[in-house]
Symmetry: C2
Subunit: 172 residues, 2 copies
């Protein structure tokens, strides 16, 4: 089971980034996506619209109390940050734990409180350069699962037919 | 050599997504990042500011004439799209070609013209679900290079010291 927690969402400024975080989590198999920061029904609704059409049993919700999401989670807690230990050095250990345990992945917006760093099992960097929490999340979920790209989503109304040179979809 | 072409940038709406595309390309070793769509000096400047401080020999520029960027590129041309052939089925072939050839990776905004699909060597999907061009770019560059995360950037004024539980940076 994979849960993704997005910290520090800011309405307006982060709308599209936070939406991409959620859709990326879904593509790589997350079961639950939790947003914190400013409450924003619009980003929850836009993702629910995509799930209605493209399928999947994914819980998407908002919480004000992000500390409890971390403290009460039973399993492996990983915060992705450019300041963390290198993914290359830790991935074997993390994969082993993920075989036995549920996984919580935390991605922040610009300022993540120190509290997060000291209340997770690992602070992991997917590169030590400033880049993108979306990229970090995707590559982390891709590596910890040996390609976690999901093919099947329950209840989908539409599916892509992969093509060499055009856009093909099928209504189901 | 890796070049990344971002198509269809829209000022305002795409600012942060396009910036994340550029920073992700840099983290995974791109040498050149070209933006097309609406001209937007702000996103070029904000990335140049990051490069000034964090280093790297990366050319970042805008072009109106995105067709020439594709037509005139000598090497392997890959368009990332949720409608393309599955990365799992093509990656071995792509890696082989990338050992011999320069690589152009194209990522679009919402509507990519059919012309792009028919003027590249491959249309590749990193998942066939709607998600994020940032995630697709990161995972594609990560896989085609067997971890392309770059560690060293020429001329950096600052570097992260990877840490278990805190933010450590060093001025160089």
């Amino acid at each position: 089971m994979i849960k993704v927690l997005r910290l520090g969402h800011r309405r307006g400024r982060d709308d599209r980034i936070s939406t991409h975080v959620g859709l990326t989590a879904r593509q790589w198999g997350a079961d639950e996506i939790v947003y914190s920061g400013e409450k924003d029904d619009k980003i929850l609704e836009s993702q629910r619209d995509i799930i209605d059409r493209w399928g999947g049993n994914i819980e998407i919700r908002y919480t004000e109390d992000w500390k409890s999401e971390i403290k009460d989670f039973e399993g492996l807690k990983v915060h992705l940050t450019m300041y963390g230990e290198k993914i290359d050095e830790k991935i074997a250990e993390l994969k082993e734990r993920f075989e036995e345990e549920d996984l919580l992945v935390i991605v922040g917006a610009e300022k993540v409180p120190r509290w997060v760093y000291t209340h997770v099992d690992y602070n992991i960097s997917v590169g030590n350069q400033p880049h993108s929490e979306i990229a970090a999340l995707a590559v982390f979920l891709d590596r910890i699962q040996d390609s976690g790209i999901r093919e099947e989503f329950d209840g989908a109304e539409i599916e892509v037919r992969p093509s060499e040179d055009r856009k093909l979809t099928e209504e189901i």
